[in-house]
């Protein structure tokens, strides 16, 4: 326990000094917010603001500091970073999940997602001992999603741009794809989660990059793919990066679609539907060219400490507190 707490303390100091030396400003933004970015894949925590003189309001725990950090950059803050707590509801309590987790998020003005790979490699180097941890050491391997699908599943995505044809490929691989309609992304995920992700290289950190255009996100496009990457270390997903999109119409459209998906999904299950701020799209469209990276710090610490589970990395895991109270024994 002591070792873990001290390791985190050292890790945070090292991260801060890494970014401070490069001229980034550390920022501290709220974790409690009256609006969130609409993200249909993330379930949220809500609580109520009560005050005798003001109308009460629903507030949300942020699933990422992005909503505030991007506003600061749009207002001319330059490159910034933050270490903060983030919250995702309905996540499994498991060996690499906790509903509350620590996130390192950094945005570099003037960078694209390729520059962010180099920066993240330098960050890793600053956190590694001189010897050992060879499977964490940069340079990171890089593979495009298309190439990974070809190698691990034998699927050529170029030839299967339509859902029906990708579903035939999935069936050829022995997966059962029901006849009910589903999106290209869902069919892609059936193949990706079964054959590709579990078999990604674990000997070195791996940047999985160039996401297919059908997997929508707010990263800039280049040809048929999106300028986004995820970093896998020992097979565990630890970071996500975008070359940030800055087209107001596209962002607006995306948020409207995401909000509709979110409402569709949650009105049935009764889970939280967060308020959103319609002026966000215009704000985010005014960003200077920049690239943002989010790293799960608990997972990074787990990997640096040679552990395979967050047990013992998160000092007070929610699963433990739910079953036996929040006193360490």
């Amino acid at each position: 326990m002591k070792e873990t707490a001290r390791f985190r303390s050292w890790m945070n100091r090292t991260i801060r000094s890494f970014f401070d030396q490069k001229g980034y400003t550390e920022v501290d933004t709220p974790i409690l917010s009256p609006t969130l970015i609409p993200e249909s894949t993330i379930e949220n925590f809500a609580t109520r603001f009560e005050n005798p003189f003001l109308p009460s309001a629903e507030l949300y725990l942020v699933p990422s500091p992005e909503i505030f950090m991007k506003q600061l950059i749009a207002d001319g803050m330059g490159s910034i970073y933050q270490i903060s707590h983030c919250f995702r509801n309905s996540e499994q309590l498991g060996h690499i999940h906790n509903p509350e987790f620590s996130m390192l998020e950094y945005y570099t003005v003037g960078f694209d997602e390729q520059d962010s790979i180099t920066l993240t490699e330098q960050l890793f180097s600053s956190l590694l001992p001189e010897t050992g941890c060879e499977d964490l050491r940069p340079p990171f391997d890089r593979i495009s999603v298309q190439e990974a699908m070809r190698i691990h599943a034998g699927v050529d995505l170029e030839k299967h741009q339509r859902q029906a044809s990708l579903a035939d490929e999935a069936r050829r691989l022995g997966l059962s794809v029901p006849d009910e309609p589903e999106s290209w992304e869902e069919t892609f995920n059936r193949i990706f989660l079964t054959f590709v992700e579990p078999n990604l290289c674990k000997d070195r950190p791996l940047v999985l990059e160039k996401y297919p255009r059908q997997i929508e996100c707010l990263a800039n496009m280049e040809g048929n793919y999106r300028k986004r990457w995820e970093l896998y270390v020992r097979g565990v997903e630890v970071a996500n990066c975008y070359d940030e999109l800055r087209d107001q119409d596209v962002i607006e459209r995306y948020y409207i679609d995401e909000y509709a998906r979110l409402v569709g999904k949650r009105s049935e299950s009764g889970s939280v539907i967060p308020d959103t701020d319609p002026s966000l799209a215009a704000k985010f469209a005014s960003l200077p060219p920049c690239s943002g990276v989010a790293i799960g710090l608990d997972r990074l610490q787990m990997l640096l400490m040679g552990k395979t589970s967050l047990e013992g990395v998160i000092l007070f895991p929610l699963s433990g507190m739910l079953t036996s109270g929040n006193t360490r024994n």
């Binding site: 070792e3 249909s40 894949t41 993330i42 996540e91 499994q92 498991g94 997966l175 059962s176 029901p178 589903e182 999106s183 992304e185 869902e186 995920n189 059936r190 990706f192 989660l193 079964t194 579990p198 997997i215 929508e216 995401e258 998906r261």
Partner: protein, 187 residues
């Protein structure tokens, strides 16, 4: 039929006509649209494991199983011999179906067992079990390195890495899933 999202550890399923038991499941939310569940399934008849990824809304064929108490008698190197405590009927199952369970089960102990018709699908070893340390190396004198460990062998033959202060004859609690030492148990 059940939805894949309802499958839990221990749920028994029929896949292409063969019974499988879910031994691990992990929810994944890879992106827009449905969430997925990654299942690790084990065939009780062959010991074969299978990974399946399904949308949480996909249908799966579940089978009805019953839990019955069985006393573990012994193993003959090939089969486990168990006795149903309600009927005293003896059954044997190939040890390969439950790899390394001989190191986790104690002779004479009763375990909850899952059956599908006459077929034994699962022996439920508790997640944490107290074992007696049958053999332990002496701690090296003067070895004060923090976190130093050594191996001990339990009365069931399980090898566990423990802190050096554990002695022969003491009892330790072990996580039977990871086979890792948890704590020393005082009498």
């Amino acid at each position: 039929m059940i939805k894949a999202g309802q499958i839990d550890k221990g749920t028994a399923l029929l896949i292409k006509g063969q019974p499988f038991v879910c031994i691990d499941r992990e929810f994944v939310n890879p992106g827009k649209g449905s969430a997925f569940v990654r299942l690790k399934l084990k065939s009780p008849s062959t010991g074969q494991t299978l990974s399946e990824t399904m949308k949480t809304q996909d249908n799966a064929e579940d089978i009805t199983v019953v839990d019955r108490d069985c006393q573990y008698l012994y193993n003959d190197g090939e089969n486990f011999h168990l006795m149903l405590t309600d009927t005293f009927e003896q059954i044997e199952v190939p040890m390969g179906n439950f790899p390394d369970y001989q190191f986790l089960m104690k002779d004479g102990e009763t375990y909850r067992c899952t059956f599908w018709e006459a077929q034994l699908l699962d022996i439920q070893v508790p997640p944490k079990v107290v074992f007696l340390v049958a053999e332990a190396e002496e701690a090296v004198k003067g070895d004060t390195v923090q976190g130093a460990t050594k191996y001990v062998t339990t009365e069931t033959g399980l090898k566990v890495r423990v802190p050096i202060f554990i002695k022969q004859g003491e009892k330790i609690r072990v996580n039977t899933e990871t086979r890792e030492y948890l704590e020393r148990v005082n009498n």
